[in-house]
Amino acid sequence: MAKPKVKENIIQDDFNERVRRLGLSDETLIGLYRTMCTVRHFEYTADRLYAEGKVHGTMHLSAGQEAVAAGTRLALQTDDYLINHHRGHGHFIAKGADVNMMMAEFLGKDTGYNHGRGGSMHIADFQSNNLGANGIVGGGIPQAVGVGLALQMQRRKEICVCIFGDGASNEGVFHEAMNMASLWKLPVLYICENNKYGMSMDVERVVAKLPIAQRAEAYGIPWSTVDGNDVIAVYETMKNAAEHVRAGSGPYFVEAMTYRYFGHSKSDRNLYRPKEEIEDWKQNRDPIMRFTKCLLRSEILGEEQAREVNAQAEQVILKAVEYAEASPDPDISTLMEYVYA
């Protein structure tokens, strides 16, 4: 049962062979790159806006984890359902959320996805089957059982993707949900995005047996781990997992190993991890840097084009900030709205 620790393929000599085997076109690969750049700019811009005092509430930034979001989305169908976690900006952007509405929500504006009622932690877009992020750690994991059950009862082909962090795997509902999803062979792809820390707690201090994914074995759910900073590996793993789920074979569990650059939230002073560790991940294992090198070496992308795509992504986010800042706050007279349908 014990599987070796996930191997990092930093150098990626086999990149060309892998993308050919997976049938990924240059256009698709550049699209992945663009998505990752967009997420990165969104997160760093969010951090800047906070520093400028323009953000009322908290935020949980996913910089460093972009490959999980982009690679996962590419492996899914447009109509698949998403249940997201509190560090969810990247997955929303990858699913095609409108960054203007996201940024407006982040700034608490009436034009935001939630009319300013939710903020960073609760963005949802029901029209695109994005069922939202959850402020309660693990809160969405059992709800995915219900989404999967409805899909099964309605004889539909979509699947539900439920993403959560390493910390959530220690909540009781994690275990209830794994059991029920497996019992009923529900179409749910569970993705544990292990960024090494649940707030300040190193995963090794709070999980009795690693990898987290091996817990799936106890519930009869097939599982695998993947280098979450290798976007192509994420894509390939999620593609296989999604095929299993879509075929009606029941849930699948993937643990993606990654790392967050920013603190847990705005109050974090990073006292629980060495600066060298953060720098090592940024300098040597960054998902965008690694992917960019591969694209350049394979001549899928030239240096100038790479800069251009990145600059375009930045522009999209800066425009979103302009949109959000120009948007009105919700009117106080609407305070009591949306409580009941």
Binding site: P142, V145, G146, M153
Partner: protein, 328 residues
């Protein structure tokens, strides 16, 4: 009009609604062959099959979460929590999730689920199977809390609850399951949020819920022989609470007693009383406004102890006589 029990009335509502609407399904522990701990869903597995009478592991939080998730895709789940006490295991999914999702998501979704839960004492089930926790559930905006006292109300409120676009906690009382009353076969709705005057009277208003309605009505009959006319109001829904009907009654009678089985401290009687004395009815109040709740202890096992942990008819009668005594 056929006579049936409170339990049969709820079953009939579930049955008829599942026949009418394919998106309705039941989910809970032992609700199949066993028929649920109280037999309420007996026969429904044979009629509707295991997909729509969905039996689960003992996982209350995920039972409610499954209802929540399925409702987002257009289903109308009715979840059963075997004993109301166990709702505490599922409170995150009820209070943090179901109750808040519509608001938190800016009104762009709704969570049409019903969570059935039998509460109340009287069965010798002791402290962890006998509580009346409806007051706790009233503290979460976004929820509705429904609490029928008669078979007729139970059926009409269940049909209303399933069709309501919001999450509804449907609080039943175990000791009412065998009580009988007239219940029409046809489809009818008791609107959520509308109280009913169960007995009209001029001398004192008693507001009571579920089993205390029956007890108070028995007391009222006896007091009528002594010329004391009690007005008995059953809120039927605790959230939203129809305070207007109660205020209008107090304006008429000038006296108010609120009776519930739930522990007195923090119980919903305080909410009713605060709303009434803060209203224009204050000017009409002629006597101290009182509440009679359960004693502030866990429900004990011993038959005698259990009985006296919650208001009995004699307690209600004593309270009423003390309140009207001087004036009559």
């Amino acid at each position: 009009m056929p006579e049936m029990t409170y339990l049969e009335a709820i079953r009939q509502a579930l049955w008829q609604e599942m026949k009418r609407d394919e998106s309705v399904f039941l989910i809970g522990e032992d609700i199949g062959v066993y028929g649920g701990a109280f037999g309420l869903t007996h026969g429904m597995l044979d009629e509707f099959g295991p997909e729509r009478v969905r039996e689960t592991p003992i996982s209350e939080a995920t039972i409610v979460a499954t209802a929540v998730g399925a409702s987002l895709l257009g289903m109308r789940p009715v979840a059963e929590i075997m004993f109301m006490d166990f709702v505490l295991l599922a409170l995150d999914q009820i209070a943090n999730q179901a109750a808040k999702m519509r608001f938190m998501f800016g009104g762009r979704t709704s969570v049409p689920i019903v969570v059935r839960m039998p509460g109340g004492s009287g069965t010798g089930a002791a402290s962890q199977h006998s509580q009346s926790l409806e007051s706790i559930l009233m503290h979460f905006p976004g929820l509705k809390v429904v609490n029928p006292s008669t078979p007729y109300d139970a059926k009409g409120l269940m049909l209303a609850s399933i069709r309501d676009p919001n999450p509804v906690c449907f609080v039943e009382h175990k000791a009412l399951y065998k009580t009988k009353g007239d219940v029409p076969e046809d489809d009818y709705i008791i609107p959520i949020g509308v109280a009913e005057v169960k007995r009209a009277g001029r001398d004192l208003t008693v507001v009571a819920n579920n089993i205390m309605v029956m007890k108070t009505l028995n007391v009222a009959k006896r007091l009528a022989q002594d010329g004391i006319e009690i007005e008995v109001i059953d809120p039927r829904t605790l959230l939203p609470l129809d305070i207007e009907t109660i205020i209008n009654s107090v304006v008429k009678t000038g006296r108010l007693l609120v009776v519930h089985e739930a522990c007195q401290t923090g119980g919903w009687a305080g909410e009713v009383i605060a709303s009434v004395v803060g209203s224009p009815a204050f000017d009409y109040i002629d006597a101290p406004v009182r509440r009679l709740g359960g004693r502030d202890i866990p429900i004990p096992y011993n038959r005698g102890l259990e009985k006296f942990a919650v208001p009995q008819e004699a307690d209600i009668e004593n309270e009423i006589r003390a309140l009207v005594g001087g004036a009559l």
